[in-house]
Symmetry: C2
Subunit: 407 residues, 2 copies
C-alpha cells in the first residue's frame, strides 16, 4: 500500500537508450532480477554514490570504471536480490566478472560497463546463474522497455517507479526519463536507493556531473524513512545525445531547462520512494525556514523527520506538537531562542513564541492529521535560510516488514 497513488507514467522511448531484463533466480525464481542499459556510442554518464564507509563492491568498481573511461560508458548492469556488499575481494572479482561478460559479448572495454547491486548484504553473487542469464538480457535490449526495467530493480518496493519530462528546443524534443527503487533505509547519502535517469540530449561529462550532484541533493538526499544509509546506493545520469540537442555550457536557458527537467524527474522519483516507504501511511514534508544557515535548517528538519516519537504520533494521527517542539530543541542549533520559534501543521498555527498558540484547538490539528499528506512548517525566527526534507510515519507495518525481511 502506498501513500496516495503512484501512477506509472506513459514513457516514450528515449533514443539511444535500450533496456533489457532477465530473471536469473538471484534471490528467487519467477521474477526479473538483472537489468542492462545499453547506451549509444558517444554517450556520457555521471553519478553520485553512497558515502557509507562499507560501500559495496559494485560501488567501488563503478566509481573506478567511471574514472577510467572518462564517463564514456556503454552499459550499466543492475541486479536486485543481492547487494554484493561486505564481500571483500571476491565480491569485487564477481562484479568485474559480470561487467566482463557484457564487455565480451558486445566488444567494449570492461571499463565501459558499470555494475550496480541491491538486496541482502554479505552474500556472494550467484555468478554462474548471472553469467548464464546475461545473453538473454542482451537479446532483450530495446528502447521501449522502461516499465519492465522499473520492475526488475525493485526489492521491498511495492510498485515500480518512473518519471519523465520533455521540452522542445528549436523544433527538437529533449526527453528526460528516470526509474528508481527504494522504500526503506532511505536517507541522505543515497540509502538503498538506486536511480537511473537518462536523456537524449548530448551533455558533456563535466556538466552532467554538476547536474546530477545538484539534482540528487534536492531530491534523493532529502528523503528520510528511517535514518539508515546503505552500502550500495547510487543515482546515475546518462546522456545519449541522440536528440541532436547539445548542451555544452552552463550558461543560458537551454541548460536551465535541462536542469529543471532532471530535478523534476529526480524529485518525483524521490517523493515516490517516500510514498512507497515501508509501512508508510503518511507523506510528511518538513519545511524549516528562518534559520541562520541551511545547515542548521537541515539539522532541525532531520531531527523532526527522524524522531520515532513524532513518526509514531503521525501514524496515530495525533497532533502531538510537544514532540515536534522537543525535537526542534534537541536538534543542536547553537543558541536557539525557543521563544522565537513557530510551527504550523499545514496552515494551522500550533506553536507560537515557543508555546502552544492561543488560537490553536486540538480539532484544528486533528483535521490536518487526518490527511495523508501533511506539511510541518517550522520557522526558527533567526534568519533567511530554509531546507525541506520528506519523510513518513512509523507504523505497525514498518516493524513487521523490517522484522521479517530476511525470514
Amino acid at each position: 500500500m502506498t501513500v496516495g497513488d503512484i501512477p506509472f507514467p506513459q514513457i516514450n522511448p528515449l533514443s539511444g537508450v535500450k533496456l533489457g531484463a532477465v530473471g536469473a533466480a538471484i534471490k528467487r525464481q519467477g521474477r526479473d532480477d538483472i537489468l542492462i542499459f545499453e547506451l549509444a556510442e558517444g554517450s556520457t554518464v555521471s553519478g553520485v554514490f553512497t558515502q557509507n564507509a562499507f560501500c559495496a563492491a559494485p560501488v567501488t568498481l563503478a566509481k573506478r570504471h567511471l574514472q577510467a573511461s572518462g564517463g564514456a560508458i556503454r552499459y550499466l548492469v543492475i541486479n536486485s536480490g543481492n547487494a554484493n556488499a561486505c564481500t571483500g575481494d571476491k565480491g569485487l572479482a564477481d562484479a568485474l566478472a559480470v561487467c566482463q561478460e557484457i564487455a565480451n559479448h558486445k566488444g567494449v572495454a570492461v571499463e565501459q560497463v558499470l555494475p550496480f547491486s541491491t538486496g541482502v548484504i554479505g552474500e556472494l553473487l550467484p555468478l554462474p546463474k548471472m553469467v548464464a542469464a546475461i545473453p538473454t538480457a542482451l537479446s532483450d535490449l530495446k528502447e521501449d522497455n522502461w516499465a519492465r526495467a522499473a520492475r526488475t530493480i525493485m526489492t521491498t518496493d511495492t510498485v515500480p517507479k518512473a518519471a519523465t519530462r520533455h521540452f522542445e528546443v528549436d523544433g527538437k524534443v529533449v526527453t528526460v526519463t528516470g526509474i528508481a527503487k527504494g522504500s526503506g533505509m532511505i536517507k541522505p547519502n543515497m540509502a538503498t536507493m538506486l536511480g537511473f535517469v537518462a536523456t537524449d540530449a548530448a551533455v558533456t561529462a563535466d556538466l552532467l556531473n554538476s547536474v546530477v550532484k545538484r539534482a540528487a541533493d534536492k531530491s534523493f538526499n532529502r528523503v528520510v524513512v528511517d535514518g539508515d544509509t546503505s552500502t550500495n546506493d547510487a543515482c546515475m545520469l546518462m546522456a545519449s545525445g541522440q536528440s541532436g540537442v547539445r548542451i555544452s555550457s552552463s550558461e543560458g536557458e537551454l541548460y536551465q531547462r535541462f536542469v529543471q527537467a532532471v530535478e523534476e524527474v529526480c524529485t518525483e522519483l524521490a517523493q515516490m520512494l517516500i510514498r512507497d516507504g515501508e509501512g508508510a501511511t503518511k507523506f510528511i514534508a518538513v519545511n524549516v525556514k528562518g534559520g541562520k544557515t541551511e545547515d542548521e535548517c537541515r539539522k532541525v528538519a532531520y531531527a523532526v523527520a527522524q524522531s520515532p516519537l513524532i513518526k509514531t504520533a503521525f501514524f496515530a494521527s495525533d497532533p502531538n506538537w510537544g514532540r515536534i517542539v522537543a525535537a526542534i530543541g534537541y536538534a543542536g542549533v547553537e543558541g536557539l531562542d525557543a521563544s522565537r520559534v513557530s510551527v504550523h501543521l499545514d496552515d494551522v498555527l500550533i506553536v507560537d513564541n515557543g508555546m502552544r498558540a492561543s488560537s490553536y484547538t486540538e480539532e484544528q490539528g486533528q483535521q490536518v492529521m487526518n490527511q495523508s499528506d501533511i506539511n510541518i512548517n517550522i520557522h526558527l525566527g533567526r534568519g533567511e535560510a530554509e531546507q525541506t526534507v520528506w519523510t513518513t510515519d512509523f507504523s505497525h507495518d514498518y516493524i513487521k516488514i523490517n522484522a521479517e525481511y530476511r525470514t
Copy 2:
C-alpha cells in the same frame, strides 16, 4: 513487561532524607502524582539537566534556585502527569508558586525548593489542585517512604525503579540510594528521565557537582531508546551529611568509594530504564572499542543503537549483521577502513576484516539473538578509545505505546 526482572530492592531509610507523596489528580485520579523530598538542614544538592533548547519551566527554575541558594536546598517537589513545558511565563510562575507553597509551609526561602515535572508537554499545571494537595504530602514525610516515592514519579514506566549501595568507613555506614523514572524518549542529555540519588555522607556542593556529572555521563547519558531527548530531564544528587562521614576532597579512597557507589546506583537505574523501555523485548549493550577517540566510538555506538533497521531486526531475533555493518559505515567516522572492522555478537565473531567471518554460521548468530541480553562488540581497529551505550529493540508494542500515549 520488562526485559528480565527489575526487582525492587530492600531500601533502608537514609538519615536526613524524608519523602512524602500525595495524589492530586494531575492527569488522573487514584494515583500519587506529587512527591516531596525533605533534606536535613545543611544538606547539599547538585544536578545535571536537559540540554534541550525548549527546556521546561521547572528546569529553568531549578537551575536558577540551585544557583541562588548555592546548593543549600531543603525541598525537592516532583509532579508526574504534566511536564509544564512550553508554557511560557505562566509556566514559570506556576512552578514558582508550587515552590512558594512549600517554602511558606516550612519557613524556608523559595530558592531552597527545587521543582521538577514530567508528563505531557504544553499544558498548564492544575495549580489549585496541586497547592491544595501539598500539605498532605508534607504531612506524609518520612525516611521510610522510598517505594511510594518511586511509584509516584512514574509515567509510562511499568515498574518503579530504585537502587541502593552502602559502604563502611571507620565503623560508620555511608548509604547511597536512588530512584528514577523514564522508559521512552531516552537518550543522552537526560531525555524524559528523572533521577534522584541521595546519600547520608556530607559532601561539598563542588564535589557533588563533579560526581553527578561524571556519574550521569557514565549511566543515564548512555541510554538510547529512541533517540529523542526531552524538555524536562534531570538527575539530582543530594547529600544530607547525617551519617557523620564527611567527604571534602577528591583525593583518597573515601572519595573513590563514594564515586563508585553513586556510579553503581546510577548505572543500575539507567539499565532499568532500558529494561523498562517502551515495548522493549531485548537489552542490548553496544560496546565500541579500537577507536582513535571516544567521540568516534560514541558516534558508532549511537548509529548502531539508534538504527530502526537494527532495532527491528533484534526484535525479530534476526542476526542481520549487514545492517550493523551499514550503520558503522554511515556513522561518520572520518577515514574509517572497513577492512579493519570486526563485530562480535557476544562471543560469536560475525564480521572480520569488514566481511562476514568465514567461521560464522547463522546458527551461532541465532543462538545469541534468542537471548534477552545481547552484547554487540564492535572493534574499529584504529586506536585505543572505547565507549558503550545501552539500548533496546523496536517492537510492535513500541509503536502501539507511542501511537496511543495521549489518547
